[in-house]
């Protein structure tokens, strides 16, 4: 049994070390990222973001956030708990790790009418 286990482990190691098949990313190529989104009057920048699974997004209220803004998740992948930041202005930051693949849509509660929205796509 010991020998069998050793063979299986060896096989797994070889598989893990093999280069990715063209067109299919390996898990190693999809490391979580750290991204920053600026929050200002009245926009998020960037407005759209594509990141890897478990990436951490930091929203940073810039010096141009003279007014109050928040970040509210209005739709997201099933199983990801919706959240809404405290209303903030220049100098505030808030970070969240996105742990489910899919599309996350955010609005500013105060300036949705001004099209202050953004989307984050989290890929597998």
């Amino acid at each position: 049994v010991t020998r069998l286990v050793a063979l299986v482990l060896a096989g797994a190691a070889v598989f893990a070390a093999a280069p990715a098949v063209a067109g299919v990313s390996s898990p190693a190529a999809r490391k979580p990222q750290k991204k920053t989104v600026d929050v200002a009057d009245n926009y998020y920048s960037p407005k759209k973001l594509t990141v890897n699974l478990r990436s951490r997004i930091t929203w940073r209220w810039t010096d141009e956030a003279a007014d109050v803004h928040d970040v509210k998740l209005v739709s997201g992948p099933k199983g990801f708990k919706k959240f809404q930041t405290e209303p903030g202005s220049a100098g505030f930051t808030y970070a969240k790790t996105l742990t489910k693949p899919g599309t996350y849509k955010f609005i500013c509660t105060f300036h949705e009418e001004d099209n202050m929205r953004m989307t984050v796509v989290v890929r597998h």
Partner: protein, 433 residues
Amino acid sequence: MTRIRNVVGIAVVAAMAVPAGAAAGQYPPPSNPGAVQKAPKGPFHTLTVCKKGCKYRTIQSAVDKAKAGDTVKVKSGTYREGVSIIGSKKRYLKLVGNPKAPSKVIIDSARGKGTPRQNCVAVRDADQVTINGFTARHYNGNGFFVLNANGYKLTHLNATLGGVYGIYAFNSIGGEMSDSQASYNNDAGFYIGQTPPQTKPKRSLVTRVRSFGNVLGFSGTNMRYVTITKSQWFNNGTGIVPNALDSEKYAPPEDNVITDNDIFWNNFNYYAGAPFKLRKSSVGVPFPVGVGVLLFGGRRTEVSANRVYGNYLAGAGALKQILLKQADAADLVGNKVHDNAFGLGGADLNGRDLVYDGSGSDNCFGPNTGVAVTLPANGSTLAPCPFAGANAFEGPAQLEALGWAGDATHEANWIKHPHAPKAGFTPLEHYPK
């Protein structure tokens, strides 16, 4: 949101304007306060907070334990925190400091390092919450803030030295702000914004408050059903500004009453120095300095029986919100400015008493007393009340008034007169360095 877009760019903005609904519809609307949350049955408890010897040493820890309808009693002291009251489980909560001496119970949100605290007390999605008897200071965002509430009471409060607004309610109905003071806020001392239209309106009341040293004394972006009365608005950049903006829902402001207030000396040129760090919005320039009351768009606002004096640019003005994308909400309609006393009987004159571009319809001015100087100078736009029909538009008057916002000195268009002495008050034009 109180800033208007850059007047210099009016033509460009107008040319690029698209219907407000063009980009909308992808997301659900913001939570409408709707029907009031069910009153809790109790039994109710009082949770006491103090610095030493109490079960709770922070306000937030007591709020977290409190159930709907409970009272959180906070004893004298300075509490360095920001308090959040969120959700229907906190409905009807009473947060009580010292109503007779709010200065004894201080919530100080200053923080030396790390991300700054945003709000001294923030209420969201919790109806009928009362906050009574506190001083808020050094908040990066707002002093006392209510969001998405059906009913609120903010009373015996003092909000000073803030990053944005002092005492603020957004997307809420049926509230009261009373017996309170707001000073030295980087935007408005008091602010009620984005009131949802209602078929059976629940009015909100702002009464017996004082607002001074702010960029704006009171801002009302897309505000409805609010009565502002028996209050003092002085030494702000601009006194009271109901305004229509695209940045929030439900433009324009409607059905508001501004009556029996003292509106004077709103000539605080905060650009020349202020006790707060002046933030520059990326989307525009502020309202002009030196105005008592300005209706920037709006319908059926009544400005009556106020005492308006010593404002160097204008005592009361009404201008079309020419930048509003929602064109059908840009016009002034059915506003009445009457029975106000301008210029303190000649002892403390406004630069101009009445300013009106003549846009819209059914707007009327007068009778008022003490009106000596107007824009336009011949008063051709100022139809006496009652008046029905299209008003007499004067393009040059509109251009002149809008041009005030583009004045780099913020004082070039002032017409200064000496102030009459007023016991207990000192005029503020430039903050002492």
